[in-house]
C-alpha cells in the first residue's frame, strides 16, 4: 500500500510536517499495542489465550539473545532470498526472450498460462518425494512460485516498450544485440520491479508454508513448534519477527525502486506535457 493517500490527513495543521507527521501516522499501531496490553492485563481476555503485549516483546527479546531465533530466521530468509534471486534472473531472461522471440513465446506462453493458477505450495509434497526434506525442496518451491509473476511482468514490460524508442535507437545505430540491454530492459524496469514486488511477497509465503509442511530448520517450523508446546508468547514473538521482516523487505524494495526509477516519473511528466 502506498504512503501517498495518508499525506492529506485533514486533522493535522499545516505546520506539522516531516518526522512529526510520520510519527502521528504510526500512532494507531501504538494504540493497538496499548489496547492489547490493557485488555489482557485487566483480565477481559484470558491470558492463556492471548499473552499480554509485554510478554510477547520479552519473549521476542529472549529468543533473540539466548534462543535459536537467529539461526531459524537466517535459514528462512536465506532460502527466500536465494530463491527470489534465481527467480529474478530466470524470469527476466525468459520474459525478455518471450517478448522478443515468437518461437519461445509460442512454446513457453501456454505453459505459463496453464500453470499460473496452480498453488505452488502444492508442489512441496512432490518435491519432498524427489529431493527429500530441506533446503532444496523449499528453495525450488520459492523459485517456481516467484518465477511466474516476474516472467509475466517482464514479458508485459518488454513487449509494451513504445516502438518509437526502438526505432530511434535503431536509427542512431544501436546494434540488434545491444537493443535488449540498452533499450528494452531499461524501459521495462518499472514493470519488472512491480513483478519483483509481488514475488517478494510470495517468497516469504512459500518458504514459510514449505517449512510448516516439513523442514529441519526455519522460522515456520519454530513458530509451529512453540504453538504445539503451548509457549504462546514465544509463538507470537516468532510471528512478530516474520511480520516485521516482511514489512521491512517490502519497504526496502519500494525505496530501491524509487532510487532506480528516479528518471521514470520525470519522463512521464515530460510526456504528459508534450
Amino acid at each position: 500500500m502506498n504512503t501517498s493517500f495518508a499525506a492529506n490527513l485533514p486533522l493535522l495543521p499545516a505546520w506539522v510536517n516531516g518526522r512529526a507527521r510520520r510519527l502521528i501516522r504510526a500512532l494507531p499501531i501504538a494504540m493497538l499495542l496499548v489496547l492489547w496490553e490493557v485488555l489482557v492485563v485487566s483480565g477481559l481476555i484470558d491470558r492463556t489465550f492471548l499473552p499480554p503485549a509485554h510478554a510477547v516483546i520479552l519473549a521476542f527479546w529472549d529468543m533473540l539473545v539466548h534462543g535459536e531465533l537467529l539461526a531459524h530466521l537466517w535459514a528462512t530468509v536465506f532460502t527466500a532470498f536465494v530463491g527470489l534471486g534465481v527467480a529474478v534472473v530466470l524470469g527476466v531472461f525468459l520474459g525478455a526472450l518471450m517478448a522478443t522471440n515468437r518461437w519461445v513465446n509460442g512454446l513457453v506462453g501456454p505453459l505459463v498460462a496453464t500453470t499460473y493458477s496452480l498453488p505452488k505450495t502444492s508442489l512441496v509434497p512432490l518435491f519432498i518425494l524427489w529431493f527429500g526434506i530441506g533446503d532444496v525442496t523449499n528453495g525450488l518451491t520459492v523459485v517456481l512460485g516467484c518465477l511466474l509473476p516476474i516472467l509475466v511482468s517482464t514479458h508485459h514490460g518488454v513487449s509494451s516498450v513504445p516502438a518509437v524508442l526502438v526505432w530511434s535507437a535503431r536509427a542512431m545505430g544501436t546494434p540488434q544485440y545491444a537493443m535488449l540491454r540498452r533499450v528494452l530492459l531499461p524501459a521495462a524496469t518499472a514493470s519488472i520491479l512491480s513483478g519483483v514486488r509481488i514475488a517478494l511477497g510470495y517468497c516469504f509465503v512459500l518458504v514459510i508454508s514449505a517449512e510448516m509442511i516439513a523442514t529441519k530448520l526455519g522460522i515456520g517450523k519454530l513458530i509451529f513448534l512453540y504453538g504445539e508446546n503451548g509457549a504462546y508468547a514465544y509463538m507470537l514473538g516468532g510471528i512478530l519477527a516474520v511480520v516485521v521482516i516482511a514489512f521491512v523487505a517490502d519497504r526496502s524494495l519500494v525505496m530501491i525502486t524509487r532510487r532506480l526509477l528516479y528518471w521514470h516519473d520525470s519522463m512521464e511528466l515530460r510526456g504528459a506535457h508534450a
Binding site: M1, L32, G109, P110, L111, T114, T121, S122, F247
Partner: protein, 264 residues
Amino acid sequence: MPSRAMTELMGVAQRCLLFVAPLLLLLAAWQVTTSMGYVRPLFLPPPGSVAEQFLALLQAGEILEQLAISLYRAFAGLAIATAVGVATGLMMARISWVNWICDPLISFVYPAPKIVFIPLFILYFGMDHLSKILLVALTCVFPMIIATHQGASTVSRTLVWSAESMGTSERRLLSRVILPASMPAILTGVRITMPAALITAFTCEMVAGGGGLGAALVFAQRFFETPTVFVYILVMLMTGLVLDLALLRLRNVLLPWHEQDKEL
C-alpha cells in the same frame, strides 16, 4: 472458397492447436521419460497410471468430496473478506479518522505472509473449518480493502457533487453513487483475490490437515502414492483455471455497462 465464418473458425482452431501443442509436447516428454525407464515410477509415474488413478478417485467420489471441502473454505473466507473489505474500504474512503486508524495497520500487516498465523488460528478456532476459513479471510481482506478504497476514492467528483447538490444524504450517496461506481474496482479485487483464497485454503489444509484437497495431497505423499499426488496437483490446477475463467464471465455479465474492462 471458404466463407468468412469458416475462416474465422479455422483461425480459432489454429490458435487452440498452437496453445495445446507445447502442453502435448510436455506430456510426450513425460511419457517417453517414464517408458524408457530413466526414473522409477515411485518418483515419476507414467501419465497413464496418473489418468487411471484420477478415474478411480473420481469414481470413488474422493476428488469431489475433497474439492467441495476446499472450495467451501475458500469461498466462505472470500465472502467474509469481501464483506469486511468493502465495508472497511468504503469507510476509509469517506471518513478521514477511519482512514487514519486503518492505513498504518494495513500497510504494516499487508506484506506479511498470513500463513504464519495458522498456529494461532488453530489455537483460537480449532482444527476444523473455522480456523481455515478465517485465515483465508485474513489473507483476502487486505487486497479487498485496498481495491475498494482505491475504487471509492477515485469516484468522479462531479458524480458526488451532483448527487449532493440534489440533496442526497450520505447513506444514500454510499449506496446509490459510491458503491455502484466502485463496483468495477471491487470485482477486479475479487478476481485478483480469488486465487489467493484458493491457495490459502489449500496451504492451510496441507499444513494443518483436516480434510480438503491440500490434506489429501500431503496424505498421499506420506504414503508414497505418487500417482495420487499428481492427481491432486492437477485437480488444484484445473480448479484455479476454471474459477478464473468463470469470474471473468461473471464480471462481463454483472457489469455490462462498464465497457473498458471487457476482456477476452
